[in-house]
């Protein structure tokens, strides 16, 4: 008499009808040895489920939080970069709408000031790593007809572009350094996590400011927040580089 294999015994506990299971059940009912084998198998499975629960030796949340914050920061940079590009595009569109035709032979230096405000190159948006669900809608519509930038708004816009470029450069430096992939001590993780949280808080405030400026005019408040963001990124770079220098990496 052929006894049931482990495959056959295991198959008897699978949901649904398994080919040959009828014959296997008949054998099981008549064979004490196979019935005992099935009991040992089920007992072994029950003992597996009863094994003690293993717990991590260290709290991994600070490391997870730092990665999440860094990821949100990267996605935020892409979102804001996209908004700046949209702003530049809408300004360019407004200028095209408003621009007076230049008479043949006229001095091209007489081009309206608004044209000079259009960046000669698109603002770099940085590498797009993943879709940004918080992406602000692209401002495809032109600002109100006749919108000519005053000097203050123009100055704020130029400062914004410069500070955003600085922010992207610091992000790129952090990415190149890849702090998440390096061993860190608890103190460095805590300081870095705190800075990441503060950057995330500034990002939330920036989102709120953008929502409150429907015409997407450059805002002194946005400029202040971007400067704060760059300050925090500078500090974050210092934390990682200083620690690295200290331990000889």
């Amino acid at each position: 008499m052929r006894h049931l294999t482990l495959d056959e015994l295991l198959a008897l506990d699978e949901p649904g009808v398994v080919p040959g299971s009828g014959r296997a059940r008949e054998h099981l009912a008549a064979c004490a040895a196979c019935a005992a084998e099935q009991a040992r198998l089920r007992q072994r499975q029950a003992r597996l489920r009863a094994l003690p629960t293993l717990r991590p030796a260290r709290d991994q949340w600070p490391a997870v939080a730092a990665r999440v914050a860094a990821d949100r920061r990267r996605r935020r940079t892409v979102t804001i970069g996209g908004s700046v590009l949209a702003l530049a595009a809408s300004v360019a569109l407004a200028v095209l709408v408003r621009r007076e035709p230049v008479a043949p032979g006229a001095d091209p230096a007489g081009v309206p000031e608004a044209v000079a405000a259009v960046p000669s190159q698109p603002v770099p948006v940085g590498p797009r790593r993943s879709p940004a669900p918080e992406a602000a809608p692209v401002a495809a519509a032109a600002p109100a007809a006749g919108a000519v930038r005053d000097a203050d708004a123009l100055a704020v816009e130029r400062q914004l572009e410069a500070i955003q470029a600085r922010s992207q450069a610091l992000e790129a430096a952090l990415d190149a350094y890849a702090p998440d992939a390096r061993m860190t001590d608890g103190r460095t993780v805590r300081i870095a996590t705190d800075l990441e949280d503060r950057i995330a808080n500034v990002d939330r405030q920036l989102e709120a400011v953008e929502l409150q400026v429907p015409a997407r005019r450059p805002s002194p408040e946005a400029l202040r927040l971007w400067k704060e963001r760059v300050g925090l990124l500078d500090a974050l770079v210092d934390v990682h580089v200083t620690r690295a220098s200290h331990v000889g990496l």
């Binding site: 294999t5 482990l6 495959d7 295991l10 198959a11 699978e14 949901p15 040895a33 005992a36 084998e37 040992r40 198998l41 072994r44 499975q45 003992r47 597996l48 489920r49 094994l51 629960t53 293993l54 717990r55 991590p56 030796a57 260290r58 991994q60 949340w61 490391a63 997870v64 939080a65 990665r67 999440v68 914050a69 990821d71 949100r72 993943s130 669900p133 949280d197 995330a200 939330r204």
Partner: protein
């Protein structure tokens, strides 16, 4: 019923979707232990399990918007953890003891002349076999689900389980002469 219920789960998920850091941490605290336990039982080392734990919750935080509220939150988190653990063992460079010649295996089995306990026997299985045993017998995944996660066939999962139990039976001294 949720195996690992999270108080105010709907509210926590909604806040997490809005980017609330405290909500992310609440998700982590609720499922840290079962995720680590699953990872540690599948992976060979505690370091690998910690990496899987981090990668799981990083993915949970990034993908919380994709969680369907009518499903089981733990079921969703666990599927991510299982997937990350399986990816980890695929990347590992450890030798599978399954691949040792049978005569070597027999010699090793008889070396100590002692029955192993279940923990030791489970650790001795190859990572693939141990993963199938844990996912099927403990976590309750079907062979179809395990095969899909591993990118293998249902037959592969079934044969791995049977072979694993054959080894466990022998190492635990449960073989009947």
């Amino acid at each position: 019923m949720e195996l690992y219920p999270l108080a105010n789960a709907e509210s926590v998920v909604a806040r997490a979707r809005a980017g609330d850091a405290a909500a992310f941490e609440a998700l982590y605290r609720a499922f840290e232990t079962p995720v680590y336990n699953l990872a540690r039982r599948i992976c060979r080392t505690a370091e690998d399990a910690e990496d899987v734990l981090q990668e799981t919750f990083f993915e949970v935080c990034r993908s919380i918007g994709q969680f369907r509220a009518e499903g089981s939150l733990w079921g969703w988190v666990r599927s991510i953890a299982a997937s990350k653990a399986l990816m980890r063992i695929r990347r590992n460079k450890y030798r599978d003891t399954d691949e040792l010649p049978e005569d070597v295996m027999e010699h090793r089995r008889e070396d100590a002349g002692l029955r192993m306990d279940l923990e030791a026997a489970l650790e001795r299985l190859s990572e693939t076999a141990r993963a199938v045993v844990w996912l099927h017998d403990v976590e309750g995944y079907t062979h179809e689900e395990i095969a899909a996660m591993m990118g293998r066939t249902t037959s592969f999962s079934k044969s791995q389980l049977a072979r694993a139990h054959g080894r466990l039976r022998r190492w635990l001294g449960e073989e009947v002469a």
